[in-house]
Amino acid sequence: MQTQTQMRDPARHHPTTTVRPPDFDAFWADLLATAEQIPLRPTLEPVAARSTDEVEVLEVGYTSLDEVRIAGWYCRPRHRPPPYPGLLIVPGYISEPTLPKTWARRGYAAFGVAPRGKLRSHHQYNPGYPGLLIDNILDRHTYAYRGFYIDAVRALEVLQQQPEVDRARIGVHGSSQGGALTIVTAALRPQAIACAAAGAPYLCGFLDAAALTHSYPYEELNEYLRRFPERAAAVRQTLNYFDGINFAPRIRCPLLLYLGLQDDVCPPETGFAVYDALQCPKTLHTADGCGHDAGAYWEAAHVEAFLADHLHP
């Protein structure tokens, strides 16, 4: 990346040190094949207390990699006839999984997933916060995000299985870690996702990002490498398998990416690097003066319109 004396200019200067391992696709193909051998065993329980006249809320459970049970909230419209477009909502790092009533009210069958380690999905795996980002980081075969990413893919499978969901109209959306999971899910299931909207994506250019900020969660990497500087190469080797920049070229659906140009949490340089790596129909919105909010105050309407244009709720 840059030296300490260069002023940052993210839009113009955003080289990445991320390298795509030669066996990147094989690594993920193997993992997906392993996951497919595990029965999904979905459960959907109506939650009357959270449901309204307009939206039915259901609590979801399913099985993912390593037999870990994953939780989520599924919301579907009550007063519109199916089929509905499906919308997978993927969560941020410390935020609670979305209970996506608002999206269901707009006509989507919406699923807010809680990947492993989040509340209600943390009984078998619980590295904590801070902790998730560096858990088993020296080994790509056990690194935290191996199962976490597959949990998001399996959530898509749960959505696909719902009879009221139109499988040709499924989108994915999230910001921050949700932005990363949006990219990863669209990349690992390119035929299943009709459109994707990712804000301020995390887990892209990990070490480049950590070198540009002292903000959490990337500060977890800085802390780890202050303690174990000799492990930097091994850390980099693992992270290359989980980097959104390496997933990006696999995406086929239209993708909306939005960035805050002064984002201290997920530095915009890494967002620009992801955008460069995308080979799908793509749109980039940047918001000057914005940080990790990535202009959400205005961008929310753009995301809603983008999803509606492609998914037709």
Binding site: Q4, E96, L99, T213, S215, Y216, R226, L261, D293
Partner: protein, 300 residues
Amino acid sequence: MDDQAAAFDSYWDALDVELARYPMAADLQPLSLHSSGTFQTYSVKLTSIGPYRIFGYFSVPTSVRTPAPALLLTPRYGSVNHIPDYHDRERYVVLQVVHRGQRLADRPFAAAYPGLLTLGITDPGRFIYRAIVADCLRGAEFLLSRPEVDPTRVAIQGDDLALITAARRSGCSALMVSEPLLYRLLERSGGTDAYPAEELNDFLRSQPEQQSAVAETLALFDAARHAPRVQATTLLVNAEADEALRQALGGPVEDYRLTHRGAVDHVWLDGWLAKQLGAEPRARFLEHALSTPEQGEHAP
């Protein structure tokens, strides 16, 4: 004093008495992984009412002279609180309170999200936020007791928990309040289906007969009723239309209207706090890259 005011004072005075029964029994443990050459960060466990052990991240700057200005961060609504920001830990003695039910303070009680906001809400004596306020007050007592803290430069930052804490414990000179959680919750929840406010809508949909009981409980947490006891210089974020709250505050009041450009807003808010505490302002968005791991400069 009318009956309502007397009941309000009685409720909160009783909480103070209950909390005072328990020694804080502070257990500080260094967190070397989360420390640097410029600050030492600790985990801290404290006893609050119940009795219940709560958690906190406590950090002391090592590159500035102590006693140093101090910052109390009240907990957010959600299961996780980050360790305080790096730049704050370099400038201030900082305590991030983690209330009961949140991660690291979730044994034996683990909060549900959604669910926490309405837990016990029909009974002021059992409403979870009574205990959560106690947790924040215990945090304030701990911070104010520390020899590293300059008692003339203490700030509290957070939602209405910050305001209530400043009202109930003297000793802070600055208060920054944004995104209130409980304040005017009944009124605000009517116009949204977004959580956490939707938790209250869910609750009242299934138990509409409890509306008045909920209102009575929330009235005890009304920031405007606590405000007269606040003596600190207070910054109200996005509350310029709330003349009642402004007028009620006992100390000087300033306003900031968010631009919704997060970095711009952060720089302004950080500058305000730094000015109140006599520290240098900082932007979290760095102008220059740090060194990279391969350059070997991540080493201590």
